[in-house]
């Protein structure tokens, strides 16, 4: 056969085939588009059967079907099994959100940022809960929180409810006894090196250097480092370096415009004198002094956390990290543990209570079955019982189910023996068979969702939900460690107490501010600049000397500016100012309401 002929035939066939397939494929695509759902506003009946609920949860650190005592409780109460989908676990930023939403079903229950509300309602992925609201008294109680979501959705109806709602004053710190972000150090080693004065962060580094030497001598191990870092939470900045902001009253986790918690000053992130660059310098100085764990660049949160547990790290940016990992009952009894460092002139930023909730919300997906039951479940999360049980997730939050971990004694809540083991001694105690299987620690709620602030008053007990402020627990926590710390900190009863007395606390009034959505060019520019900033920041922290640090810094500034930093900064500055304006308004309103 003539090859030319054959070829022309094939190419003719190819054209035909291409045409046929294209038409077929286009038809398919159209069919897929046509079958998109139309959301109804009518209530659907509950079939009462056991169902597996897919929970898309930005907060969760666990993926798969939840197990243990909490799951057991939920199944008994609601006939629901929770199947967690956790972007934190699967990694890759927004990939999971994008692919799932593009496929038209994010989950049956949705826990994600309020910045997504508008998009989700627009695409018809959220359920209007209005038809299911009769009798849902706890969701109704926090109507400011549901209104917040309605406003963002730009559509009538109840589309969800924000997290961390509170009935307390927005100017009162929401953080209980220990501020979330502050300089925490291993107090026992600080004692060993003779309580040196900490007039500046440089002094802090020198003290840490001595403490590191001391710790290495004590343990005989060379892998003890004063500072250990991780990169899991980096976004458009190196998250760890950005925590220094909170030491001097700057709000943490902001985009390119940094602002003081009370709106008195603003800075550009990459400015050579910005608080963020100071944070980088702090870490780089530490690196040059040999205080930074070389594994910082590659490890993740879990690896780092286990180092804290093993006492191999001496400085922590967060109370829940240092104290959560290392301050076990036995360590504290031996006088060991993390406590607030007396850094002179600090002004610790602390978030106030948020009457309208924070910037995460929970809602019901539009494809969910038995929506009435899911709304009931959300209502339960905001009820006293729900808060007690579901929020027993991180050390310092709720105590757990009444009768298991705590009981009322003489009109006061007290921890039971089991409760002490569960909450104060690491939690690896088996739960009684009645409550399910496994250990306490493994069975806590995988939702990792704070519905109501833990220092709000529990109407059933008259005390706060968070057990650490219960008088009975405060008495228990008088340890060798806390006594020594208190003696050297003006007899303060807690970190918050110390900061308040010394006027070293700055409370940023609690508002639920969701920045207006970036235009797509701004968000793309922000993304590519953010990558550059994060990468450069890590290089700067690990720089060998100041000269290298400075050249990396100017390089970073040049690249960021070249990519269009200024235009994004302008947007961020506007948003930061709007947020602080909202703060003032909220404070005024709260005063008026009173």
């Amino acid at each position: 056969m003539n090859t030319m002929n054959f070829r022309s035939k094939v190419s003719g066939g190819l054209k035909k085939a291409a045409l046929v397939t294209t038409v077929a494929a286009a038809a398919l695509a159209l069919a897929a588009c046509g079958s998109s759902n139309s959301s109804s506003n009518k209530a659907e009946k509950d079939d009462g059967k056991l169902m597996t609920v897919t929970v898309y949860d930005d907060m969760a650190n666990y993926q798969g079907v939840a197990k243990g005592w909490f799951a057991h409780y939920v199944q008994k109460k609601f006939n629901i099994k929770l199947k967690m989908v956790a972007p934190n676990v699967s990694g890759g930023g927004n990939t999971l959100f994008d692919t799932r939403t593009a496929a038209g079903n994010l989950g049956d229950l949705i826990i994600t940022g309020t910045n997504h509300v508008n998009k989700l309602t627009k695409a018809g992925l959220l359920t209007n809960m209005t038809p299911y609201m009769s009798g849902m008294k706890y969701i109704k109680k926090y109507s400011a929180a549901t209104d917040q979501i309605t406003k963002l959705a730009g559509k009538k109806g109840i589309w969800g409810i924000t997290n961390s709602v509170s009935s307390e004053s927005p100017t009162k710190s929401s953080e209980g006894l220990e501020p979330i972000t502050a300089p925490y150090i291993r107090w026992d080693l600080y004692k060993k090196v003779g309580y040196p004065k900490l007039n500046s962060t440089d002094d802090l580094l020198n003290a840490l250097k001595d403490m590191q030497t001391e710790a290495r001598k004590e343990t005989g191990k060379n892998d003890v480092y004063a500072i250990s870092l991780f990169k899991d939470w980096d976004s458009t900045m190196m998250q760890n370096a950005g925590q220094n902001l909170a030491f001097y009253g700057w709000e943490v986790n902001q985009p390119f415009a940094l602002s003081k918690g009370n709106g008195s000053a603003y800075e550009s992130l990459i400015d050579s004198k910005s608080q963020y660059v100071k944070g980088l310098r702090f870490l780089n100085k530490a690196k040059q002094l040999g205080l930074v764990d070389p594994e910082s660049t590659t490890q993740n949160w879990d690896t780092m956390y286990s180092k804290y547990q093993a006492g191999k790290v001496l400085f922590a940016y967060w109370g829940y990290l240092g104290q959560g990992a290392f301050n076990t009952t036995s360590n504290m009894a031996a006088g060991k543990g993390f406590e607030l460092a007396p850094l002179k002139n600090m002004k610790v930023f602390s978030m106030g209570n948020q009457p309208t909730g924070n910037t995460t919300f929970i809602g019901v997906g539009s494809k969910a079955k038995n929506k009435a039951r899911l709304v009931k479940f959300i209502n339960w999360l905001y009820s006293p019982e729900g808060v007690q049980i579901q929020q027993a997730q991180t050390t310092g939050y709720s105590a757990g189910p009444k009768g298991l971990t705590w009981k009322m004694k003489g009109g006061q809540p007290v921890l039971t023996e089991f409760g002490k083991k569960a909450q104060l001694e690491g939690g690896s105690v088996q739960v009684p068979a009645k409550w399910g299987t496994g250990t306490w620690k493994d069975g806590i709620s995988t939702l990792n969702y704070v519905a109501v602030m833990q220092y709000d008053k529990d109407p059933t007990t008259g005390y706060s939900y968070g057990y650490v402020t219960w008088p009975s627990v405060l008495k228990l926590n008088q340890t060798k460690l806390s006594k020594d710390w208190s003696a050297h900190m003006d007899n303060a009863t807690s970190s918050m107490d110390y900061l308040k007395k010394n006027k070293e606390l700055l409370v940023g009034a609690g508002v639920s501010y969701t920045a207006p959505e970036d235009s797509s060019t701004v968000s793309t520019t922000r993304g590519s600049i953010g990558t550059q900033i994060v990468n450069s920041s890590w290089k700067m922290v690990m720089a060998k000397n100041d000269a290298e640090f400075n050249s990396l810094l100017s390089n970073m500034q040049k690249t960021a500016k070249g990519l269009g930093y200024d235009s994004v900064y302008k947007v961020d500055l506007k948003n930061a100012k709007a947020k602080n304006a909202l703060r003032e308004k909220t404070i005024k309103q709260y005063k008026e309401d009173k």
Partner: protein
Amino acid sequence: MDNVTVNPDVAAEQKRRHQQHEKAKAKQGRKMWLLIAPFLVLVVAFSYYPLFGWIYAFFDYEPPIPLHQSEFVGLQWFKMMIQNSTQVHQLVQVLANTFAMSLLNIATSFLPVLFAIGLNEIRNKHFRNTIQTLTTLPNFISWVLVYSIAFAMFSSSGMVNELLQNLHWIAEPIKFLDSDAHTWLKMLLWSTWKGLGWGSIIYLASITGIDPELYEAGRVDGASKLQLIRYITIPELLPTYFVMLMLSVSNFLNNGMDQYFVFQNAFNQTHIQVLDLYVYNVGMGNNSLSYATAISMLKSLVSVVLLWIVNVVSKKTRGSSII
């Protein structure tokens, strides 16, 4: 022959025959067409249909808002690629990484040949099989696992650093993974380690296909072992080698992304980001799917340019074009 009048009957017969022949040819053609149709469908489904996705580059697409509700933005994303010199510089760097690592891979494509020849010279069968198995195995390990091996060995608290520190040869751990020194070379070494054994299989097969008489003749002429390799084995392997080379050149831009994806970090990103990885980082990491689509179209553009160059070269050297 000119004067011979054509018998009308013969002409009719010829015409009939011709028609029959045409019919048979058409039938044959249809059969051939049916044979090839399934593959055409596959080609269309997997190579042409995805091109439809290019449409995303012209919209402001952000899931979950469906495409038909997204705003049409024309060439906004393409303009963005070249809007400032820093951006252009970044793209150039990405292309440079892609080209450099592809070129390095092509430049070292003779290694499997040498390896196959060396392997073939091992007389002990068990030893040879063991070596072959051990070198082929890495090809079946995914890059994610390769990275975990790399991490266990070369991280700052990995085996190598621990060993060197315990021997007191170094005080500070050497940064093998989280530094930007010799990134291209390191990546080349990893891919060579992974692919060498596998790549040599085809050459081993070719070697067994070489006519033994050639070797016998060579030996009779008194050729040494090296001379046998130099004058018989290598020339006989060259055709296979060139076919493989052609194939790898055609994959110039598809130099994979999983390897670079698992090895990338804040320190080496400047030099490890190849085109595919860059598209992934922009699209998935920075949540800009439309922009990522626009960048990925660049790949097709570069491919067409490369194809054109190869075609011109082929025309000049061989006198015939490829397409």
